[in-house]
């Protein structure tokens, strides 16, 4: 029960006789907030930030300066602090989210160091290393929050609220999309997720959460100086999140609790043990982080979670999302490639390939290994931009569009090696595909206003699973599926996405004979219902029995096109491909 997190609010009452523990409790809540911001970034989004403390610092100094300078209510400081943090996060994010994964965290290190130096050196503004003192206490409904006891209610309440909001995020189209993005951005993009935009939003959310924590920090201590906003502090929060288990909300909070408790103890104990002064606790943080990454990369929590009762997943009874009704006449051209070209260095992988896909047919693209089939596939789906030639989808030019722009137009694809996400359930994997057909944005999701849409998305996914016969496994972890079931899941995902044109990259690879027959049966049934299928495969039995028409490629060029019978008789094809097969 996630509302159980509000029971944290009882802790200040229990600890009220112990002022020291009340202070620790506040620090736990603040650390928990920052660690949860890393859950969004690292646990869901597969990014990380070494500047969360700097974001805290921006908000803390903003509210401190506003309060000292103008005497306005600290709540105005919250607004200013959040705006400033978001602005900084926006600049940093815009610069890095389009780049490969390591640029963002690397830049955050630089950013963190730079801000820390500025906080220490802009003495006129920030008071340098002595900092700013005598900040006003927060006043809530006329009650000044000037003791750790009172403050704990606010900080823990906000922590519990954030936990709820992040559970909402995890169980939403955005949570699934972030998880997918972490595993494999291309797959996510193939279902309409704009990787750069989503990463940016997650980064902003994380920055905002850290800003909130910084604001609370400033008004809790009523004093700011640069030390708590250093790179070491940022790393401390990362250690908390990673040690507890950055992939789960309870894990992150467990880490925050453990380290808040340990920190004071370490600071006192280590110098006693080792006998000299020094930053032993930072050494300990570094080594703990290293040890966790080596020995338990998922953190401590998974070991505990084994003993906790397994959460019962529910199946949605809601009405599935409306399927776009296939319009247009059978036989009309829906997807057309004209003179596609792609070279990798000196290798001409695809050279002037043209073909047309007609509504309701099953077209197979075949050819020997290295013929350029998969590259053609990538060119058509936008995974890589062509060097020359054009692609039309429903008569509209899509040449050079990225996959997340092409998918919503009605084209879905599978991958040569099934790209499923093992940390999600089978149902969630299928539900990922409804991303382009659902709308809820970050605000709606965080406040839990997306539930109705979410239920319909899950119902849609369940229906698709039923269609391929995987409904009994809906709530299992996707990692438990066999190779054949993974193929079926990929097809279910396409059906849930509402795409009318299905591009299947070697759907038969790794399947047993019986599974192949079932697959062929399913694809034929889908074609009869108005779906259009383009598939790439090596398996002649499957292709020749299934396809209405075949396009044959060799050395990057199209060498034949026609019905399976015609193609089999074609001497060029026999020489290039079937001949080799017969000989073998």
């Amino acid at each position: 029960m996630r509302y159980g997190w509000f029971l944290l609010l009882l802790l200040p009452l229990a600890l009220s006789p112990f002022p020291f523990y009340l202070t620790l409790l506040n620090f736990f809540a603040l650390s928990g907030l920052v660690a949860l911001s890393l859950y969004v970034l690292t646990g869901l989004g597969g990014m990380t930030s070494f500047a969360q403390a700097a974001f805290m610092g921006v908000a803390a100094y903003a509210t401190a300066l506003l309060a000292k300078g103008t005497g306005l209510s600290p709540w105005a400081g919250l607004l200013l602090g959040l705006l400033l943090t978001l602005a900084f996060a926006l600049v940093l994010g815009l610069l890095t989210v389009r780049l490969k994964g390591h640029f963002l965290p690397l830049s955050t290190i630089a950013w963190q160091v730079a801000l820390y130096i500025l906080a220490g050196n802009l003495v006129g503004l920030t008071g340098g290393h002595t900092g700013l003192t005598d900040l006003p206490a927060l006043v809530l409904l006329g009650l000044p929050l000037d003791t750790p006891f009172r403050y704990a209610f606010l900080s823990l309440f906000l922590l519990a609220l954030l936990v709820l909001a992040l559970y909402n995020l995890r169980e939403s189209r955005l949570g699934r999309a972030l998880l997918a993005l972490r595993g494999d951005a291309l797959t996510a993009a193939s279902f309409g997720v704009d990787p750069a935009a989503l990463r940016l939003k997650a980064f902003l959310l994380a920055g905002g959460i850290a800003g909130l924590a910084g604001f609370l920090y400033a008004h809790f201590l009523r004093f700011v100086n640069p030390t708590p906003f250093s790179l070491e502090a940022s790393i401390k929060y990362l250690v908390m999140a990673v040690a507890g288990g950055v992939g789960t909300i309870p894990g992150v909070l467990l880490g925050a609790a453990l380290f808040t408790g340990l920190e004071d103890w370490l600071k006192d104990l280590l110098p006693l043990l080792l006998g000299r002064q020094g930053n032993y606790e930072t050494v300990a943080y570094g080594l703990v982080l290293a040890g966790i990454l080596l020995l338990a990369p998922k953190g401590v929590y998974p070991f505990l979670a084994r003993f906790s009762p397994k959460g019962e997943g529910r199946l949605s009874k809601a009405e599935p999302l409306p399927l776009p009704t296939p319009s247009g006449t059978p036989g009309e051209v829906v997807l057309e490639a004209q003179g596609l070209k792609k070279a990798f260095g000196g290798l001409l992988a695809v050279n002037g390939v043209s073909f047309a896909l007609r509504r309701g047919e099953i077209l197979a693209l075949i050819g020997p290994n290295g013929a350029g089939k998969s590259t053609t596939f990538h060119l058509v789906t936008g995974a890589i931009p062509p060097d020359g030639g054009r692609v039309f989808l429903f008569g509209r030019e899509i040449t050079g569009l990225p996959p997340h722009r092409i998918h919503p137009l009605g084209l879905g694809r599978t991958f040569q090696h099934p790209h499923i996400f093992p940390e999600m359930t089978v149902l969630e994997n299928a539900a990922l595909a409804t991303y382009a057909r659902t709308r809820a944005g970050f605000l709606r999701v965080l406040f839990g206003l997306h539930r109705e849409e979410e239920a319909r998305a899950l119902a849609t996914a369940y229906q698709a699973l039923k269609r391929v016969g995987l409904e009994d496994l809906a709530l299992e972890a996707a990692s438990r599926l066999t190779a054949g079931q993974q193929r079926l899941l990929e097809i279910a995902r396409l059906l849930a996405s509402g795409a009318e044109i299905l591009l299947l990259d070697e759907p038969g690879a790794g399947l047993r004979a019986g599974e192949k027959r079932e697959l062929a049966h399913l694809l034929k049934a889908l074609a009869r219902e108005g779906y259009t299928v383009l598939l790439v495969d090596h398996d002649m039995d499957l292709v020749m029995g299934l396809a209405d028409r075949v396009v044959v490629m060799n050395y990057g060029e199209k060498i034949a096109e026609g019905t399976p019978k015609e193609v089999q008789r074609n001497p060029l094809v026999r020489a290039a491909y079937l001949g080799e097969v017969e000989a073998a």
């Binding site: 610069l95 890095t96 640029f103 050196n121 291309l186 050494v283 570094g286 990454l293 996959p403 997340h404």
Partner: protein, 334 residues
Amino acid sequence: MDATILGLLFLDALQNGVVYGLLALAMVLVFAVTRVILVPIGELMMFAPLSLVWLQGGKLPGTLWLALALGVAWALLTRGRGALLPLLGGAGLFLLFLLALKAPPVAYLAALLLVVYLGVATYRVFFQPMRAASPEGEHRGATVLAYLIMAVGLHVAYQGLGLVFFGPEQFRPAPLVEGEALVGLSWQGVLVLLFALAAAGGLYLFFRLSLYGKALLAAAESRLGARLCGIRPEEAGMVAFAIASLMAALSGLLLAPLINAAYFMGFMLGLKGFVAAILGGLLSYPVAFLGALLVGLFESFTSFYASAYKEALVFLLLVPALLVQSLRARAVEE
């Protein structure tokens, strides 16, 4: 500003720039081969002159025990005959240190080899097991992220250990060569420049001409493919770390007489190396090196105008660098 000051700023920029350049090259090299971003390179760099100072003072530095401890872990992780390398290396290192206490010129070699040994052991103990645990091809982004977190953790740990081993003071080892070549440029500075050029040129030739250098880069592209061609990826990673540590240690030893050495100083130097490496997209050696010279120049001039903020202002250079990369990048990486 007159011509003399301008000249001094340029010399200063050049001297710092080539050091950032060396660090940037080392980082690009390690990244290319192992996908590890070597954040603790600054600590490795400082360990060399600090250990040297300790040896010259007749004491065994704490870094030796750190290296030997990691060496034992390395040996434990390596079954069979492979364990001989860390064990013999560690024993040799220990003997060399004992010898260096008696024969001061050996101290340079001892400090150098210490850092190389430490660098390789760091890879073997902390990074290689992560690499072995990650599935080939899948979730590579996740692995790179975990490497980075590991690297930052090691930076914190090594920096903290540096404080424990060497205390907060700054040390200035005696320069190898005394005197000034011209006003503002000591002979030691000339030595730094010459070494930087030789190292950069040597790396270029190594990767362009030698089969082994090409094999290293191949191992970076595909573990499996490299293995099929008879290249052991673990070995490639160790060699990359060895070269990077050697470059860091040499730069540290050469630079320390000019700028002092202290446990905390390596990080900022390394970070500026990063800025340079990022200017080159973490890919291009020449651009990274030129970028480093630019960083040096920028830093020299900002320190003239706003010395208190020069360390912060350097990172402004990241903005145009990232912007250019962003505009060139495609949104979706496979």
